[in-house]
């Protein structure tokens, strides 16, 4: 779907009978989190129509890196469902053991202008294992739709 030419960084959607999955690669853990967010945003919204005129600072906690990844992606989902904020890009500002902070850029949802590609119910833990691959990381994430 979208792969960085310089190395193993990017994401691609994979098929699942009832749901939708993303296979994500990152050069670093931060990169993995950002690529996962980019893939998730791409699944949910037609981002061409979203202007990055507002930002939303978010933070999430979790014991293990997998917990943290799920919590991080949930921030994007929650921003949309509760605050009607459409995210076009997400940047990790700090990632430490147990906590991630970041900034979502986008704007308030406008049904006339924005297109929702896929309504996602939740980020699942199904088969979720972040693995070290070469110099980087890899993970597969299944979303409940």
């Amino acid at each position: 779907m979208c792969t960085d030419r310089d190395g193993p960084s990017g994401y691609e959607a994979f098929e699942h009978t009832a749901d939708v999955g993303l296979k994500v690669r990152g050069r670093t853990m931060e990169d993995l989190f950002e690529q996962a967010a980019a893939g998730f945003i791409d699944l949910m919204f037609e981002t061409d129509s979203v202007r990055t005129v507002q930002s939303l600072d978010v933070s999430a906690e979790g014991d293990e890196p997998e917990d943290l990844l799920v919590a991080w992606l949930q921030e994007i989902l929650f921003a949309f469902e509760a605050d009607r904020f459409v995210t076009a890009s997400a940047e990790v500002q700090s990632l430490t053991e147990g906590k991630v902070t970041g900034r979502l850029r986008g704007e308030d949802f406008d049904a006339g202008r924005h297109e929702v590609r896929l309504v996602v119910k939740a980020v699942t833990y199904h088969g979720l294992e972040i693995e070290r691959v070469g110099e980087g990381y890899e993970v597969s994430i299944v979303f409940d739709v």
């Binding site: 009978t17 009832a18 917990d67 590609r117 119910k121 980020v123 699942t124 199904h126 088969g127 409940d144």
Partner: protein, 484 residues
């Protein structure tokens, strides 16, 4: 766990079994015919049923219904009972994100001939009365927090008290539309925030409102007790607890990741994270899950009232004159404490049904009074182009499946594959040629939900009929469909 190498044996004409191996403490048992078992095996659903057989305190077997397909954690179409006395657990992944996703069926006195000329108008009016898409909620103003707390405890009764529907709807709803043990203090702020604007909304994906015609009655006596006869028009609603339930599940999956480590439980998949039923985490999740279940019942009750308004407006008659009466409302994603017979002994077990429907027999105290002599109605929504079924619960279900049966056709094709298959076709037109008029919010929903993406609902319900778990009462054919 669940590497290839399991042994799958036929254990009866419609039952297949994987005997325990590795860490399984009970067998995995699947209800299917020779064709459906292949789809289930191809799809990882069997491996998922095997994984469930590893969980602490599981009783007798990890069950999969014929509509089982690859879910996350538990298979969709999975049933498992856990014994609190034997270290049994509760697992949010065994219920699903859409807590109390379920179906409501309403019969009418209308005939196909009366509705046909007004069908387009009727579907358009349903589409405008019931918000479906992206969290929108024109119909019901955003709930205050105190109101949402009432919804959590009172369920469908809250909606009836707001003027949405009638008391007799409650009598014909599983658990009378309110699961006991709900505690709104166990629900996060986030779930509250997601739930407040979404009351009275349908959601997207496979959720729908349908106008159906009762095409065939298989069991006249039971159909009569349910108020259903051939040629009648019925209204069907399929939806759940919306963002409220999704967030409750999300929150507690995180709690359960910790709990699984804390109690030293080793599960083969993080989505199977769980806690002992008697632990504080287990009790808190149950209390929050009950709130979400009650939200879903209030939601379907509210949607019924909005849909009734649409019918009244288009047909110019009120609910009584239309002969609208609820047949039943059942959930197919839930965990409940129920009394069951285990080796001749009455035990209270926590029965998880994920994509499975309760199917209690005649005489069961939880079977509503008007149906006590015939058994509990079971509603099986099919795909939008084929059919849905009305079934009835039996003693066989109590003996074999903890009073449970299938929940639908079950997907067989991924959403992407369905979109690919629909390329260059108009699903709306194809359905139109079969006399089915569809209105849909999402751009790709029709392709994703195309009939070929599902197994044959006829085959699925026939397996449960032949296996003596649920009996066929009536087949309903869709005429008008509103999709999210």
């Amino acid at each position: 766990m669940a590497e290839k190498g399991y042994e799958l044996k036929q254990a009866g004409p419609y039952v297949w079994e994987v005997p325990p191996y590795g860490r399984m403490s009970v067998p995995a048992r699947v209800y299917a015919d020779a064709e459906l078992i292949q789809a289930i095996e191809r799809d990882n659903a069997l491996e998922q049923a095997i994984n469930v057989a590893v969980m602490p305190g599981i009783v007798r077997a990890s069950l999969a219904m014929p509509d089982a397909h690859w879910g996350y954690g538990f298979p969709i179409g999975g049933v498992a009972a856990f014994d609190p006395q034997q270290g049994g657990v509760i697992s949010p992944g065994g219920i699903g994100f859409d807590i109390n996703c379920g179906v409501r069926l309403v019969r009418t006195d209308l005939t196909e001939e009366e509705v046909k000329p007004r069908l387009t108008e009727l579907v358009n009016e349903l589409f405008s009365q019931v918000p479906c898409g992206v969290g929108s909620s024109k119909a019901i103003p955003k709930l205050s927090e105190s109101e949402l707390r009432r919804v959590c405890v009172e369920g469908a009764r809250w909606a009836v008290e707001q003027g949405f529907g009638r008391d007799d709807d409650l009598e014909r709803t599983e658990a009378r539309g309110a699961l006991a043990g709900a505690d709104p203090d166990m629900v996060s702020r986030r779930a509250m925030d997601r739930g407040r604007p979404q009351m009275g909304t349908l959601g997207s994906g496979n959720h729908f409102i349908e106008i159906d015609v009762v095409e065939q009655v298989f069991d006249r006596e039971v159909a009569e007790a349910f108020g259903v006869a051939e040629g009648q028009i019925a209204l069907q609603i399929h939806c759940g607890s919306r963002g409220f339930g999704h967030q409750v599940c999300t929150d507690y999956l995180q709690t359960m990741q910790k709990a699984t480590r804390k109690y030293g439980i080793d599960v083969p998949d993080r989505q199977l994270a769980c806690a002992p039923l008697d632990s504080s985490e287990g009790k808190r999740y149950f209390a929050a899950m009950a709130c979400a279940a009650n939200y879903a019942w209030a939601n379907r009750q509210t949607i019924l009232a909005l849909a009734t308004k649409a019918l009244e407006r288009v047909l110019g008659k009120d609910r009584n004159a239309l002969g609208m009466r609820q047949v039943y409302d059942v959930c197919h994603n839930i965990a409940k404490f129920e009394e069951h017979d285990v080796n001749g002994e009455k035990r209270v077990l926590c029965v998880h049904r994920k994509g499975a429907t309760r199917a209690f027999p005649p005489g069961h105290p939880e079977c509503p009074a008007p149906y006590r002599d015939v058994g509990q109605p079971v509603l099986i929504p099919g795909d939008m182009g084929t059919a849905s079924y009305l079934l009835v619960g039996t003693e066989g279900a109590m003996r074999e499946t903890w009073g449970s049966t299938c929940h639908g056709a079950g997907r067989v094709m991924s959403r992407k594959a369905a979109i690919r298959k629909a390329t260059g076709r108009s699903i709306k037109k194809e359905l139109g040629e079969k006399g089915i008029f569809v209105r849909c919010e999402g751009r790709t929903t029709l392709a994703e939900e195309m009939p070929e993406a599902y197994k044959s609902v006829d085959a699925v319900v026939s397996v449960m009929h032949e296996a003596g778990i649920t009996r066929k009462v009536a087949r309903l054919r869709p005429m008008g469909v509103v999709k999210g």
